[in-house]
Amino acid sequence: MARQISSFNPGGAADLLKSTLFENVGLSSRNRLEAEILPQTSCAGSVEWRLRSTGCWGGEFLVSAVFRRLTDNGIDFLCLNAQEAAKHKK
C-alpha cells in the first residue's frame, strides 16, 4: 500500500499557495523536472516519475509522482499526485 506523504508541510505552517512547483521539488530533481518531466507531460499528457520532493522546512523525501496536464475552461493546469515512495534498498 502506498504511504501517505508525511512531511510536506507539518501543521500547515507555511502558506503553500504562494509557492511554485519548483519550490516543492528537491534540488536534485529540479533539472530533471525542467528537462524531462515537464516537456514529456506537455507532449504525452501524463507521465509518472520518482523524484525528490521537498517540504516547507527543507527536508527531502522520495515520492512516486504522476504529472498530468489538464485543461479546464480553456485554462491549462498541471496536476501532481504524489505518494511517498517505499524506502529503497541501498
Binding site: M1, A2, Q4, I5, S6, S7, F8, N9, P10, G11, G12, L16, L17, K18, S19, T20, L21, F22, N24, G45, S53, V63, V66, R68, R69, L70, T71, D72, I75, D76, F77, L78, C79, L80, N81, A82, Q83, E84
Partner: protein, 157 residues
C-alpha cells in the same frame, strides 16, 4: 431548479437507494452512510446524443472503457439534467490520476444539492479532491504556481 449529485465510490453494483432520493436535502454536501450498493451510469438512455458523458458499462473489476477519452477535470462531467447521477467510480475515471486500488480508505460518497450549478461543480470537485490519498497539487501554467493543494500537504505528524 436545484441540481443534485449523488456520489459513491463503492464497487458493488446495485440500485440507487430510494431513501437517498427522497431525502431532498437543503443545499450543501451530505455524506451518506456506509452503504456501498449505489450504482447509476453517468449517461442515461435519454442523453445518448450527448458526447460529453461516457457510456459506462457495468464494472467487472476494470475501469470504464471510455475513461481515457476524458482527460479533463471531473468538473466537466458533473451532473446536468442529462446525467443527474454518477457513481464515484464513474467520476473517478475522469480524474486526472489513477485510483489507488489498494487504498481501501479512499472512498467518497455523498449527496450535493444546490440551486447553483456552478456551486455544485466546485464543491463536488473539492470534496473529491480532498479525499485523494497522498499529495494532490494543481499548478497553473505556465507560471507553475500552486492553484490547489489537498489536505495531505498540511497534516500534522
Amino acid at each position: 431548479m436545484a441540481q443534485t449529485a449523488y456520489v459513491d465510490s463503492g464497487d458493488a453494483i446495485g440500485e440507487f437507494p430510494e431513501d437517498a432520493k427522497k431525502r431532498k436535502p437543503k443545499s450543501g454536501l451530505i455524506w451518506v452512510g456506509s452503504r456501498r450498493s449505489f450504482r447509476r451510469p453517468l449517461r442515461t438512455s435519454g442523453s445518448r446524443g450527448d458526447s460529453r458523458y461516457p457510456s459506462v458499462k457495468k464494472r467487472s473489476g476494470t475501469r470504464p472503457e471510455s475513461a481515457s477519452s476524458f482527460p479533463r477535470f471531473v468538473a466537466d462531467k458533473l451532473p446536468s439534467e442529462h446525467a443527474p447521477y454518477a457513481t464515484g467510480a464513474d467520476l473517478a475515471s475522469c480524474l486526472p490520476f489513477s485510483i489507488p486500488r489498494d487504498e481501501p480508505q479512499w472512498a467518497f460518497r455523498g449527496i450535493l444539492v444546490s440551486d447553483h450549478p456552478e456551486e455544485v461543480r466546485k464543491r463536488f470537485l473539492m470534496a473529491m479532491l480532498a479525499d485523494v490519498p497522498g499529495l494532490l497539487a494543481i499548478y497553473s501554467l505556465p507560471d507553475l504556481r500552486v492553484a490547489y493543494l489537498n489536505g495531505a500537504a498540511n497534516k500534522q505528524f
